[in-house]
Symmetry: C2
Amino acid sequence: MKAVGVVVEYNPFHNGHLYHIQKAKELTQAEIVIAVMSGPFLQRGEPALISKWSRAEMALENGIDLIVELPYPFATQHAAVFASGAVEILHSLGCDYLCFGSESGNINEFDSIFNLLAEKKDEEDRLVKEYMKQGMSYPKAKSCAIQELTSVNKTQGLNLHMPNNILGYEYYKSVRSNAYPMQVCTVARIKADYHDKKFTSDTIASATSIREELLQTAGSLTTIEPFLPSSSYQALQQYKETYLTYHTWENYWSYLKFRLLQTTAEELSTIYEIEEGIEYRFLKYVKEASSFQDFIRLLKTKRYTWTRLQRICVHILTNTKKEEMQTYSKPAYIRLLGTTANGRLYLKEKKKQFLLPIISKLSSFEKEKIVLDVRASQIYALGVPVAAQQKLLEMDYSKPPIMK
Amino acid sequence: MKAVGVVVEYNPFHNGHLYHIQKAKELTQAEIVIAVMSGPFLQRGEPALISKWSRAEMALENGIDLIVELPYPFATQHAAVFASGAVEILHSLGCDYLCFGSESGNINEFDSIFNLLAEKKDEEDRLVKEYMKQGMSYPKAKSCAIQELTSVNKTQGLNLHMPNNILGYEYYKSVRSNAYPMQVCTVARIKADYHDKKFTSDTIASATSIREELLQTAGSLTTIEPFLPSSSYQALQQYKETYLTYHTWENYWSYLKFRLLQTTAEELSTIYEIEEGIEYRFLKYVKEASSFQDFIRLLKTKRYTWTRLQRICVHILTNTKKEEMQTYSKPAYIRLLGTTANGRLYLKEKKKQFLLPIISKLSSFEKEKIVLDVRASQIYALGVPVAAQQKLLEMDYSKPPIMK
């Protein structure tokens, strides 16, 4: 059985994701689709709207055959680390293809840039440092450096200021630089930009615009219905009924505030990604901020992007230390979230060739290896009202993989 | 001007406290009464129902002339440390007398036991250790040891199983063993026992029974009105109107739970009073407990008293480390909460003789010395609904001492 892998967040699963899965199958003629998905906290440093289990359900209803969790130490990172963790897992699961969505839609453009930059690594590093000295953030400096190097050599074409092109390039680079035997292809995003906050088509909308709408309509989902498969729509409705809320940063603001008010600069500086004295800004502005949004607005500088600050807040919330993260240079396990019958066939056929152990139940695995994922799930559960917390809190210990 | 000192919590201030102040004046003929009062967290390991500022107002309206805060490292401790901090402060403020309430009401009984135990220190220590080996808690072992030593020598009389006798004995011991030039006297508690949960008189009730009633009547204070001076009654009403709630442990339960869920046993073991592997019980039961009461009930053992467990929870909430507490063997400052005109006269007359610096405004004092008190106030402020938090949060930075 040939498998194509995709890297996803499904926050929430919408028609654009469905299109991506269909195209991935069409392009590769693969028989099964494997997704590696972020858990409770996402690459943008935000809690997922609904739990990983509900998002996995959505995926399995709509064309994904096997879905696993991207561990916390990779899911909550900038593009390069996020991509390397995801690619490693897809490779370990024996994927023959990797297919990602991009603004470009042309894999040759990724190939050209990769070949060019492979020769110019030192120059790239030098330019990144130079731009950062001028006060740019790392992602901004990186895309400017690449843009400068490539435009000089007339291989324009791939716009590396576009968010999905950036991530896509990192996937491509991970596969190629590790020389993994995986073919990489890309599907052009259609009808919606990543950053769109308003709807621009009748059936396809960005996850960003769907979230905006969802959080504003206080319970009524009718305006987002056209953009989601019906099973996704129902899962969203059901989640709200069961847990009384979607998860947004504001649900965690009082916890973050509490943690910052009870701690010292010295203690805070042990948290992952707290660097360069930024801890003092955190301790100063927490006393003034009236909400999470307000807090990030106060913290924001030219050098620290909104998403980087949000990711730091996630690490404070989950109490993730620098020394803990050091031990996770590569994924050490694969947490299985769910399978279809087709996915189970694949598992049966390929399991022995997998390069990492598969965790189906927490009890069957050394817990210290998965401690960061478990902690993130526990903290995530506190984002719903007390009455609904226990159910969510226990899920990570008792829930077996979903079988469709 | 002669001054009598009292050690108080006023949670809340009631007619029994008024009686104590009047008797203290009568017995000593002192011209002013000085109170040293716990701040946001109390000796029993509970948040105070209302803020220290509102409790200081109550005190100044009802006979106290000068009120200062017992710093956190003494206020949240077992009887001996609580008493030694409070006595030290009253001595530093030049009090000529110390007057405490007790079940006994006879200072000679305290004197006899002190003299007897001074000779039998080693035997007392040995007995305490022995009883603890049998599984008793420290306070229980201590009162049993003393009871055994004193009954053998026919100086019964002082029942050291009674909570106010225990505290009183510690005050008495602090004054005598430091040879402070302070006369000590005691007033018998009337008409209500410390542990009473029901009302047993028409005008005097224990703070415990008043709190029980207050928290059950959801807003209506009429049933407790007979037991409070009218100014106290009004202050309680006003507090609820301004901050929407009284402070109870349940208001902090979600923060405590969050902190425990995000931490490791190793990190938890750095918290003050976490000893003997009790951290593992905390981490285990937090996942099962449905409320703070339920949590303590699950944690409870023969050796760990309810109040000791609550005090540990306070230290977790305020993130107070063992190494921080080590630096506070004696009070280093006196935080002034309020004065009457009479109190200000006393300050003017005696200020130069005080043995510790007086802090009237936070900005005028080295902040690192008062960091634990400030942190405790900040965390305490999170116990009210978000809408009312900011006002309470800023109070510790901006509020000057109360002038009556």
